[in-house]
Symmetry: C2
Subunit: 223 residues, 2 copies
C-alpha cells in the first residue's frame, strides 16, 4: 500500500510552485511577492518562504530582497551550459551502467522507454515521445548507480523543461534520437563502457546543437 502520508505545507508549496512554474502560470522573468504567493497557495508566508529557498537552490527561481522571487528565464547560454553538464554526467552514467554488467532483466526498463519512443514516433505523438525520452535519460542515469548524478541531472532537466516544451513542435520528428538510444542500450548490454560513453556524448551534443539552432533560428533568446 502507498502510505499517502499527508505532506506538510512546505512540501506542498514546493510542488505547487513547481507546477505553476512549469505550466507557465508564473511566467519566466516575472516577480512575485511572498505575501501574494502565500495568499495564492492558501498558507502563511513561512512555508512559502522555505519552499522558495529550496527552489532557489534548485535553480528555478531567485529570491531577491524586497523585490519578491523572480522566476528565472532560460537563455541560450543557460541551455548550452545545461546540455554540457548533462552530456558530461550522463555519459559517465552510461559508461558506469555498461561496466556494471547488468543482467538483461535489469535493462528491461530502459528498453521499454525506447519502445515507447518508437510507438510515439509512429503515431507522431510528440508529447508522448518527449515523456519517453525523459524516462530513457532518467533510467539510464539510475542504472549508472551514482546518486549524485541522478540528483544533478534531475535538477538540470527541470531547468530546461519549459524551453524544451516550446521547441517540441518546432523540430523535425526525432528519428535519429531513437537510433542513438538503441545504440547506447546495445553498448551497455555488451558491457562496452567506452562505446556507451562515446555514443551517448555524441547523442547529447547533437541534441544541444539542434536545440540551440532552433532557438537562434526563431530568435528565442529567453524562455
Amino acid at each position: 500500500m502507498s502510505a499517502e502520508r499527508p505532506k506538510n505545507n512546505v512540501a506542498r508549496a514546493v510542488d505547487m510552485l513547481r507546477e505553476l512554474i512549469f505550466s507557465g502560470t508564473l511566467a519566466p522573468g516575472s516577480d512575485h511577492l511572498e505575501t501574494e504567493l502565500a495568499l495564492r497557495l492558501g498558507m502563511s508566508r513561512t512555508p512559502v518562504r522555505e519552499a522558495t529557498l529550496t527552489l532557489e537552490a534548485q535553480g528555478l527561481l531567485q529570491v531577491r530582497a524586497r523585490r519578491g522571487v523572480r522566476i528565472l528565464p532560460i537563455s541560450i547560454k543557460d541551455m548550452e551550459e545545461i546540455y554540457d553538464v548533462l552530456t558530461a554526467l550522463e555519459s559517465t552514467a552510461a559508461a558506469d551502467a555498461a561496466a556494471a554488467n547488468h543482467a538483461d532483466t535489469g535493462l528491461d526498463a530502459l528498453a521499454a522507454t525506447i519502445s515507447a519512443m518508437e510507438d510515439a514516433l509512429a503515431v507522431q505523438n510528440r508529447e508522448a515521445w518527449a515523456d519517453a525520452d525523459d524516462q530513457f535519460h532518467a533510467e539510464l542515469v539510475r542504472l549508472g548507480g551514482n546518486q549524485r548524478i541522478v540528483s544533478i541531472t534531475q535538477m538540470m532537466a527541470d531547468q530546461v523543461r519549459r524551453a524544451r516544451a516550446v521547441t517540441l513542435y518546432m523540430r523535425p520528428l526525432p528519428v535519429k534520437s531513437n537510433a542513438d538510444h538503441r545504440a547506447v542500450l546495445d553498448a551497455i548490454r555488451r558491457g562496452d563502457a567506452t562505446l556507451a560513453r562515446k555514443i551517448h556524448a555524441r547523442h547529447r551534443a547533437a541534441a544541444k546543437a539542434t536545440l540551440v539552432g532552433l532557438l537562434k533560428q526563431h530568435h528565442l533568446t529567453q524562455l
Copy 2:
C-alpha cells in the same frame, strides 16, 4: 572600496554552520536541535532553520523532522560518487578552457596556483599544498566558463573537505599531481581540448584511486 555590507542572519548562520561542520565541531553523524543551534549562533530559530535548508540543498546535512539536523558523514561510496562527478565536470571545463583559446595572461592565475603548489611541496607544507590544489581546480573550472559547473564542483568539493583533511597526512607527498597540473595547463595553452580533457580525467581518476585506497587501508569507512 569593499562595501562590507552587513550580512543578514541567514547568511551569517550559513557561514557559521559551514565553519562548525568543516572544523569538526559539529561531528559527522551527530544530530543537533534547531533550538540548540539557534542558541549557539545567538539568533532565533527562523534564520537558523532557513540556513539548514540551504545547507541541506548543498548536501552538507540532512533535516529530519523532530530529530534535529544530522551532519552527513561521508562514506567511501560517497567519495567515489563525488570524484566521478568532479572527473566528468572538470574534464569538460578543461576542454572548454582549451577551446576558448585564452590569451596567456588569462592563464596567469592558473599558472600561479601551480607555482604555489610546487613551493609548498618544496618545504613539505601539506596544508599550503592542499589550498593551492583547491585553487587550481577552482580556477580551471572558472576558465571553462560554465557557471553551473562552477557551482556543482564547489558543492562537491565542500562535501569531501573533511575527508580530504583527514587523509592529507596519510598520503605520500603528491609529486605526480603537480606534473599533471602542469600538463593540463600546457594543453590548455596550446588549445588542445581533447588532450586537456584526457589528462585531467586521468588526474582525477588517479586522485580518486589514491584516496579510496587510503581510506580502505586505514579502515576509514565513515568520515
